[in-house]
């Protein structure tokens, strides 16, 4: 039931996230795009669980937990970065340049 449209929405969300990560320069926006990709995956899990079983829905809770932890660490890094460099523009952060 509605598997195809659900997966299509999920793919569109994931692609938006990828394009956002590739094109945006603000670290927080990139961060949000990553969340977008995670949630696109969550949608896939849920959509597929009606065919395969309950495991997909269970897994979504794990992903949400990890995403919450990751958000905490990621935001902390962004704040530390801002304190250090007075910017969250990733293009001006290229210390590892060869």
């Amino acid at each position: 039931m509605l598997l195809g449209p659900s997966l299509l929405v999920s793919a569109i969300l994931f692609s938006l996230g990828v394009v956002g990560v590739l094109l945006r320069r603000n670290a927080i926006v990139i961060f949000m795009c990553i969340e977008l990709m995670l949630n696109a995956v969550n949608l896939t899990f849920v959509a597929l669980s009606q065919r395969i079983g309950i495991e997909g829905q269970v897994f979504v809770f794990f992903v949400m937990t990890v995403a919450a932890a990751e958000a905490a660490v990621g935001l902390a890094i962004v704040i530390a970065l801002y304190r250090h460099r007075d910017t969250v523009n990733l293009q001006s952060i290229n210390l590892l340049r060869g």
């Binding site: 990828v18 990560v21 590739l22 320069r25 990733l90 293009q91 952060i93 290229n94 210390l95 590892l96 340049r97 060869g98």
Partner: protein
């Protein structure tokens, strides 16, 4: 079962071990107790004398039960590789025992002489260590039962020769002389090695017995293979035994202490080439062309070196060219196929040439001491500084006259018989092959010149007015007994040495027959008819006497002046004094082009140009360039990395879904 099994011949290896132990002890003393002269002398002389005792015991065993085939004692398997199997084996037979006696006997006397000669040298222990090591390797060379073992000895004596020529290595020209000897010998050694490879590839063995057993079937007599083998073997001999064109190292080798010249560069090592030809006589007999080359080179060297000897002023240089010339005689002997005669001359030459060198050493020793007392720096080896020494050194003069008469071929001394036998064989062979008549003619002329230059040496050194300064004269005395003793023993051997192979009796000839019998089938009969033999003998004696007589009439020792006031030589005499400028020729034609090749082409061109620039720096630049390209990707922009990451992920997905 060989009759020598279980006899003293089993212990022949002791003649190697004893001098080697002497080398180890003296080497240790040279490091830790260089002042312990008494111990060094005892060990140095004692070990070699003990080796001589072993040699005598082995000789008596061989005489008691003459073996028909060589007695080989294999000690251990040395190089077992596939088809090649070389064992560390010693061989006792009639030839090796003769060489063993000569080597250890003459070495003992020269070691004894060295105790006196080197007495005040700071390198006393080092000297005896080297000398003991030399005897070790020489005995290995003589006793080796296959080519590789012999080659070990061959190279070992070359090493000791190098060490002893450059014994006083702080003087550059002496170190250079050692280097020259070493390098020139390498050229010959390449020939020896190639000969070994050829023997193995054709006969599948390097063992002497096996080689000679297989050669008649495995090689065509007179064919290309056996000729090549013989010629390459002879190339080794040319280097080691100082024949044209590689003789140039031997006169320079006189830079070493005089007993070394007597032992290594006159009596033993330089005769190794003659021994090698006599040892492989079957191969040479099967290759008549190679034998003719041996005889021809020998005759040419005999004459050529004798002419140079006519004009040298350095007493040791005269003897050096004399040695080159006499080695030429030996090669004439083994080249015409008279192997016993060649070995006979080797033995007698070892006696009288060692005596001459030791006599010269005694003279140089005394001259040197006199200059030491007077604090004058003059050449203690230049005959123009000597003269009239017979009055001060009667025993040296007497014994050296014995040797001079022997080398000049005056009967009944040893040199007369041995030289006559060689020339007789050459003459007899000349009847059917006129080439050997030319060889004989060269030999006769060289014999005349030999008598002349030796008489010149004796007259200028021991007779006429004394040309040392007034300050030196009171210090001229006879050398101590430890030096004159060996001279007297060698003089006695020189007088009676001819008895080992008298004409018609031919004791040595019969003694060596088991080893030369195989080659007799390939050779004509070399014994001259009795009438011819007597005529040749009388002729040879007359030629020698004429040389001596002419020298006493032509040369005026009274007219000699010390070197600094001597007039310039002109014309041919100058060419002789400058040794035909062969060294200069080699320098221009070989040494300098080689150095140019090494410096300009190989160093600046190949090494600096190709290897350094293209190879070393080139590969570094390539790595750096690739690294630079790689580092352009490393932008530090996380976004860029993610682009690649996504592209990669899509590519993998596409590949998986296909």
């Amino acid at each position: 079962m060989n009759p020598l099994a279980g006899s003293a011949a089993d212990w022949a290896g002791l003649a190697i071990l004893l001098p080697f132990a002497g080398f180890l002890v003296n080497g240790a003393l040279a490091f830790w107790r260089p002042k312990a002269r008494r111990a060094v002398s005892l060990v140095g002389v004692g070990s070699v004398a003990a080796a001589f005792v072993v040699a005598v015991a082995v000789f008596l065993a061989v005489r008691a039960a003459p073996p028909a085939a060589p007695y080989v004692r294999s000690l251990w398997s040395w190089i077992p590789v596939g088809d090649l199997s070389v064992s560390a084996a010693l061989q006792v037979d009639q030839l090796s025992v003769v060489m063993l006696l000569v080597v250890t006997g003459v070495s003992s006397l020269i070691h004894l002489f060295s105790v006196g000669y080197m007495h005040d040298d700071p390198g006393y222990a080092r000297y005896f260590a080297y000398l003991n090591l030399f005897v070790t390797f020489m005995v290995v060379l003589v006793l080796g039962a296959n080519f590789p073992v012999m080659f070990i000895g061959w190279e070992g004596v070359g090493l000791c020769s190098y060490l002893l020529i450059g014994f006083w290595f702080t003087e550059k020209e002496k170190a250079d002389a050692g280097l020259k000897a070493f390098l020139v010998n390498r050229i010959g050694d390449v020939g020896f090695l190639i000969a070994m490879f050829l023997i193995f590839s054709h006969l599948g063995t390097l063992d002497f017995r096996e080689t000679f057993a297989r050669a008649p079937q495995g090689l065509a007599a007179g064919g290309g293979a056996v000729t090549a083998i013989a010629l390459f073997l002879f190339m080794g001999c040319v280097g080691k035994s100082a024949q044209i064109p590689l003789y140039v190292w031997l006169p320079d080798a006189m830079a070493g202490p005089t007993p070394v010249s007597a032992l290594i560069h006159a009596a033993t090592m330089v005769t190794a080439g003659v021994y090698l030809v006599a040892r492989t006589n079957l191969l040479f007999a099967m290759a008549p062309v190679a034998s003719a080359v041996v005889a021809g080179v020998g005759a040419l060297t005999a004459l050529f070196a004798a002419t140079i000897g006519l004009k040298q002023w350095d007493i040791k240089k005269v003897l050096a060219y004399s040695t080159v010339s006499q080695l030429g005689y030996m090669f004439v002997g083994v080249g015409v196929g008279a192997y016993a005669a060649g070995i006979f001359h080797l033995v007698t030459h070892a006696f009288f040439k060692a005596l001459l060198f030791l006599g010269a050493g005694s003279v140089i020793h005394v001259m040197h001491q006199a200059y030491h007392h007077s604090h004058r720096h003059a050449d203690a080896q230049d005959m123009r500084n000597m003269g009239g020494l017979a009055a001060y050194m009667p025993w040296t003069a007497r014994t050296m006259w014995v040797a001079t008469l022997a080398i000049a071929g005056i009967p009944p001394l040893a040199g007369f018989f041995s030289k006559d036998e060689i020339l007789g064989a050459a003459f007899t062979r000349g009847a059917s092959q006129p080439f050997y008549l030319l060889v004989w003619l060269f030999g006769i002329v060289a014999a005349f010149l030999t008598a002349f230059y030796m008489a010149r040496l004796m007259l200028y050194t021991f007779h006429g007015p004394n040309r040392t300064g007034d300050l030196e004269r009171p210090h001229l005395t006879e050398a101590p007994w430890i030096m004159t003793g060996p001279l007297v023993v060698l003089a006695a051997l020189t007088i009676v040495g001819g008895a080992i192979n008298l004409p018609e009796v031919g004791a040595l000839q019969r003694w060596l027959t088991p080893l030369t019998a195989q080659s007799a089938a390939f050779l004509p009969d070399l014994a001259p008819t009795p009438g011819v033999a007597i005529a040749l003998m009388a002729g040879a004696a007359l030629i020698g006497a004429a040389g001596l007589w002419l020298a006493t009439r032509m040369l005026k020792p009274e007219a000699l002046v010390p070197p600094e006031r001597s007039p310039q030589e002109t014309g041919f005499a100058r060419l002789l004094l400058e040794k035909y400028r062969v060294d200069e020729l080699y320098d221009r034609v070989i040494v300098r082009p080689l150095l140019w090749l090494a410096r300009v082409v190989l160093w600046k061109g190949v090494d600096a140009g190709v290897i350094d620039t293209a190879g070393v720096n080139g590969s570094a630049a390539l790595a750096r360039g690739l690294g630079w390209i790689g580092s352009r990707l490393q932008s530090g922009q996380v976004g860029t990395y993610v682009v690649f990451f996504v592209i990669g992920a899509i590519a993998v997905l596409a590949a998986l879904l296909k």
